[in-house]
Symmetry: C2
Subunit: 159 residues, 2 copies
């Protein structure tokens, strides 16, 4: 089963909000975000290959990965401020195609009971222009694809 | 000599901008921000004692410190995304008195020539309320004091 993804681009504020529910327990959703062997099976658009250069998602850790679409490569990197079920995941995010434009991403995990979880994403950009650039980059498709792939992963494996 | 500090709290945007010039070369200003033995001599309000628990200001590093005012303690921590003269210093910032409210701070260093440097600070908060809380926290005094103390440090030592 697939749940809807709500993406909000607030007028005049440099935020992107993404809310999504999953039919899986909070521990499984958290592990799917932090274990690189799981992450690479769902993060990003369908048809892209993800390769992880570094994935150390714990407070004080850092990450770097590439999404490959044929010969095209899209590299991303950041550092991790928080990573726990209680505090959520708070990390910086930089697309290396626009070096120096760094945003801050927060993902809170809400235990809805009955083995269900709500993920509340809140990203903060350094300027409205940077936020608009991200919103217009096709990220909506990537988020929807990624979360559908995460549904499939959570249904398939006992994470 | 002390230069003016310009602090801008833009209406309706969750930013704080701080611009300050220093009569010192960019290398010295950068070292004063990254060497813990120098940092603890200028960061924060006059009359506070700063003690560093962790200060690893390099990409992928992290920091934690306390400002002490008598028996009162104010702890801060974050992780470092960038730290170089070219890219500036980009790091997360959390006041442990409000745990979970994480902002992203960027400090760019402009070489003005003739041994002078402009520091351009741009902080981004997760909500307007968090920005307003910081703006009303007395941080202006802390910034002005800190930068005057940095002037004194830069004049005194060959950093």
């Amino acid at each position: 089963m697939t749940n809807p993804t709500t993406i909000t681009i607030p007028e005049g504020l440099p935020f992107i909000e993404i809310v999504r529910e999953f039919d899986a327990p909070v521990e499984a959703v958290f592990r799917a975000h932090t274990d690189p062997e799981l992450v690479k099976n769902w993060l990003g658009p369908r048809g892209y290959e993800m390769e992880i250069d570094r994935w150390d998602v714990r407070p004080g850790g850092s990450y770097r990965y590439v999404h490959r679409d044929g010969d095209d490569e899209y590299w991303f990197n950041g550092v991790v401020h928080s990573a726990s079920i209680e505090s959520g995941i708070v990390q910086t995010f930089e697309f290396e195609g626009f070096p120096g434009v760094v945003s801050l991403e927060s993902q809170k995990l809400e235990d809805l009971g009955n083995g269900r979880t709500r993920v509340i994403g809140h990203s903060v950009y350094p300027t409205l222009e940077a936020r608009d650039g991200m919103a217009e980059s096709g990220m909506e498709q990537g988020v929807n694809d990624g979360y559908e792939r995460l549904d499939e992963l959570l249904a398939k494996v006992s994470v």
